[in-house]
């Protein structure tokens, strides 16, 4: 497969150069993937996918065209080029055009866990273990999915890049039910670790059963402990807002800030880490063939870096950070460095607050101001004088991202590899303790 995808990428570039395009990038990705989904502790569907796709970037006289198509062989590459025909002539010059950079990428080795390849069509057996762990911890029923993926990626460019990487990944999440309560946990990694899988089931059940007496709380500001699932979801918004394209397109809280501005508590740093090999976003080269690197987006509370490809870098008169996206730069893996709190210490630190296990449906009123709300789901626990005293039903965090970041007062020592339905970017994040978070709920 390595030779097949690499050869297709090289042939695609050669053909594009031969046809007179100025810049050509061809990325060929082969995915073999399986997924199993359970609900009410039983199988609802098992799925598998196999696909080879070509992503082609072409420029001519500063005009940019992107093409995506499935490919099986050289003849499909010809078919793609025949469709382009005169298309590019009708496109206007791109205001963001920049010549492709010289290739500097260094493909990463060691991204494959053979256990994932071997288990590709045994995913139902794996999730049965996760469900069983939840039941073992007292869950009455469980729902979730387990996905295995092996990706083979080849990149060739008209500037001479010829790179290949192969990586595996696993994503598992489970929601455990106990009486009227639920708990949730997730794991996303390049490594199939049965211990981590069973921990997903155990933690989900733990949060479903921590306490069961329901208490009511009025809408107002509280100190909250956000679990790594909530942190992963909210921080993905911040990391995505660091894409220079998001700034140019009017989708970013960083539009208001200069490098060095205080945007968060000094205890808080946020890193884009493509070299963290255990996380599924790890890679040694971006879509323009530039070497990836680990970089802070926020360092000890100060805004440090936007994420660039060569085009956004040219517009903003800086250098690529190795985060292409052929049009939009993006984070690879999101990492928040650990703090010095144990999870128990975080709870003990709260006099009047909440512990939030999970959230979903985060939407922004205004990306520039970072005004957002998100709905809690699964376990929300009332914490009073350092003790968990009851479970609270569905609340809403309605605040601004900068308020949240600036009010961080503690991070846990342990960090967790998280990826699930609401956390698309692989994340290694801790629990986070935040003061004065605005909480709302329906008024009628």
């Amino acid at each position: 497969m390595k030779e097949f995808v690499l050869e297709l990428a090289k042939q695609s570039v050669e053909r594009g150069v031969g046809l007179g395009f100025d810049d050509v990038v061809a990325k060929v990705v082969s995915n073999e993937k399986s997924m199993v989904k359970v609900a009410n502790s039983q199988l609802t569907v098992a799925q598998s996918w196999r696909a080879v796709n070509l992503e082609l970037y072409l420029t001519k006289d500063r005009k940019i065209v992107l093409v995506e198509a499935p490919v099986k062989g050289k003849e499909d590459v010809e078919r793609v080029y025949s469709r382009i025909g005169d298309y590019i002539k009708s496109v206007s010059e791109s205001e963001m055009y920049a010549p492709l950079p010289e290739p500097s990428g260094r493909p990463l080795e060691g991204l494959v866990d053979p256990k994932i390849i071997d288990s590709m069509y045994r995913s139902p057996e794996l999730i049965a273990e996760v469900v069983s762990a939840a039941h073992g911890e007292g869950a009455e029923k469980a729902a979730g999915t387990l996905t295995l993926d092996v990706e083979r990626k080849a990149l060739a460019t008209s500037t001479g890049a010829e790179f290949y990487e192969e990586g595996t990944s696993i994503e598992v999440y489970l929601r455990a039910f106990y009486k009227d309560s639920t708990g949730h946990w997730a794991y996303g990694s390049r490594i199939l670790d049965m211990g981590a899988l069973k921990e997903v089931g155990r933690r989900a059940a733990y949060y479903a059963r921590l306490v069961t007496n329901v208490v009511d709380v009025p809408p107002r500001r509280y100190d909250v402990v956000l679990s790594p699932l909530v942190v992963g979801n909210l921080i993905e918004l911040v990391a995505s807002a660091a894409s220079a394209f998001a700034v140019l397109a009017g989708f970013s809280m960083f539009m208001k800030f200069e490098r060095g501005d205080v945007v968060a508590s000094e205890r808080f740093s946020l890193i884009d880490d493509p070299l963290q090999k255990s996380l599924p976003g790890s890679t040694g080269f971006d879509d323009e063939g530039v070497a990836t690197s680990t970089k802070p987006i926020i360092k000890e509370g100060r805004f440090e870096n936007l994420l660039h490809n060569s085009k956004t870098a040219a517009v903003m008169k800086t250098e690529s950070t190795g985060n292409a996206g052929l049009i939009m730069p993006h984070p690879w893996n999101v990492v928040i460095p650990a703090g010095d709190f144990s999870e128990e210490e975080m709870i003990r630190d709260i006099k009047d607050g909440l512990l939030i296990n999970n959230n979903w449906y985060t939407r922004l009123q205004n990306y520039v101001e970072g005004i957002f709300s998100t709905v809690t789901r699964d376990a929300v626990y009332r914490v009073s004088n350092g003790e968990v005293v009851g479970v609270v039903r569905r609340l809403r965090i309605a605040d601004t991202l900068t308020n949240l970041l600036k009010n961080v007062v503690g991070l846990s020592k342990s960090v967790y590899d998280i990826r699930w339905w609401e956390v698309g970017t692989p994340s290694k994040v801790p629990y986070v303790l935040v003061r004065n978070v605005n909480i709302t709920k329906p008024t009628v």
Binding site: M35, Q42, S48, E68, V91, E95, N438
Partner: protein, 479 residues
């Protein structure tokens, strides 16, 4: 297309012991243009093509897809599905079946007046770029700091065959446009507005939107909200909700909780469950006589248009809530079998790599008989929320929040000063029980609805009339 390969997949699956096999060739061909502040960023061509195979074997429901459109390719896909089915045995606690249906043998196509290919790309670009020429000039004090536009045209083609006789071919062109505007003022900060427009048909649909006029009117209307918007009143007031917000509300709080697979719990770990329990269907009351919500895939020109679903079942309107009663859930053949009923043709798959799920198409609140003036004429003190940005709803589709963008005070029966970020936060029952009066004009809004794992986005319309609600407390979004 690829009929022989599709029938081969069905026959091969049956020969291997499957009790049901469905094979769907599914292709999307499209192109897009991205424009920022009146300058082209780039253009793109997109092609997705493959075959998805769904099989019931050994009591398990399995799905597999491939981009290899040969007999060998689909045979491998079926083999992989069967392999997954075999290893699923420990988790199969009851036998998956599909409901018996009179499936279609048909072919249909959405006819266009203006084929996408007959309009030169340069002309399309000119329209998009031209928006920027006049838009900043309609603003008096605020500055337009960002205008991001994307135009997408797609032709979707499908051929579906199944072991119980379905054979449906379809061709549906669609067009979609969205824009993001950011207005800024040195003292008042920023205001942001998303606009989404979508429909089925050819380029004539895009022309009909007159996007330049549309965006200019939007900018003209929201600027006063940024410059002069006041906080909403702190006491409970009458609320008039515009059709854009009503469409979203019924999509979120009628359509989604009435998806039968959610009611059963199939989406419990993803988009969640439903406040609706099986025993409420046909009996439970969720609102007053004004609460009739319909989902209809057959509306001509709609963004969620189809005549047969992705299991071959003929489409028809579904009365989800009827005069306040929880009436008819949306079903595919899997959920219909679970509930012991028939499918109402709600099975939709995003693309060849997606299993058919229970989905909405075009969901709307049945309109009433009032003009807008009649809706507000006897409101002494209230607010009118015409459009929104932020919204969300909990995972059982009960507690929800909508934050207004273009919003106004209503004083003594007339629209008054603009209101900044009023937040409506209510439950599903309180909304449908509070509908005091409905406008007579039905409007639809395009969206892409997400569901499933892997997440599937499908085109939908959501709509309704303007609606007056009885008194409620209105919050305000934090700044």
């Amino acid at each position: 297309m690829y009929e022989d390969v599709l029938y081969y997949a069905v026959d091969y699956g049956l020969s291997q012991g499957a009790v049901y096999v469905e094979a769907r060739y599914h292709r999307h061909e499209g192109s897009e243009v991205v424009v920022r502040n009146g300058a082209v960023v780039g253009a793109g061509m997109m092609s997705k093509e493959g075959i998805g195979v769904r099989v019931v074997y050994g009591g398990a429901l399995v799905f597999s897809s491939t981009t290899d459109l040969t007999r060998e390719g689909v045979r491998k896909a079926v083999d992989k599905a069967l392999s997954l089915a075999r290893s699923s045995k420990p988790l199969v606690k009851w036998v998956h079946t599909l409901s018996e249906e009179r499936v279609g043998r048909s072919k249909y196509e959405v006819l266009v007046k203006e084929d996408f290919e007959d309009v030169h790309l340069e002309d399309k670009v000119k329209v998009l770029v031209g928006v920027w020429d006049e838009l900043p000039k309609v603003l008096r004090e605020a500055k337009l700091t960002s205008l991001f536009e994307e135009y997408i045209e797609v032709v979707e083609e499908k051929t579906l065959v199944s072991s119980d006789g379905a054979h449906v071919e379809s061709k549906t062109p669609r067009v979609f446009y969205w824009a993001n505007m950011v207005l800024a003022h040195p003292q008042r900060g920023t205001l942001q507005r998303f606009i989404e427009l979508g429909g089925s048909g050819g380029y004539e649909v895009f022309r009909s939107w007159r996007i330049r006029d549309y965006l200019e009117e939007e900018a003209r209307n929201i600027e006063p909200v940024l410059l002069k918007g006041v906080e909403p009143p702190r006491e409970p007031v009458d609320v008039v909700v515009g059709s854009e917000v009503v469409g979203l509300i019924v999509h979120e709080s009628a359509g989604h909780p009435m998806e039968a697979d959610r009611i059963w719990g199939r989406e419990a770990a993803q988009a969640g469950e439903s406040y609706v329990k099986p025993e409420m269907i046909g009996r439970g009351r969720i609102g007053n006589q004004n609460a009739t919500v319909i989902d209809d895939p057959t509306i001509p020109g709609s963004y969620g248009f189809y005549l047969y679903d992705d299991e071959g079942v003929p489409a028809r309107p579904r009365y989800i809530y009827y005069k306040g009663i929880i009436n008819e859930p949306l079903h595919n053949r899997w959920s219909a079998a679970v509930f012991g009923t028939n499918s109402n043709a709600a099975a939709r798959a995003m693309d060849f790599a997606s299993e058919p799920l229970v989905r909405m198409a075009n969901t709307y609140l049945e309109p009433g008989d009032r003009t807008f003036e009649e809706l507000i004429e006897d409101v002494e003190l209230g607010i009118y929320v015409k459009s929104y940005m932020e919204w969300n709803i909990d995972d059982i589709r009960w507690g929800q929040r909508y934050v207004g963008l273009e919003s106004y005070m209503i004083r003594r029966g007339e629209l008054a000063e603009p209101v900044l970020y009023p937040a409506l936060e209510f439950t599903t029952k309180s909304f449908y029980s509070s509908i005091a009066a409905k406008g007579k004009e039905l409007r639809f809004y395009a969206a892409t609805c997400g569901k499933g794992e892997p997440a599937q986005g499908v085109p939908v319309w959501a709509g309704g009339p303007d609606v007056r609600l009885s008194r409620m407390l209105v919050g305000v979004a934090p700044k």
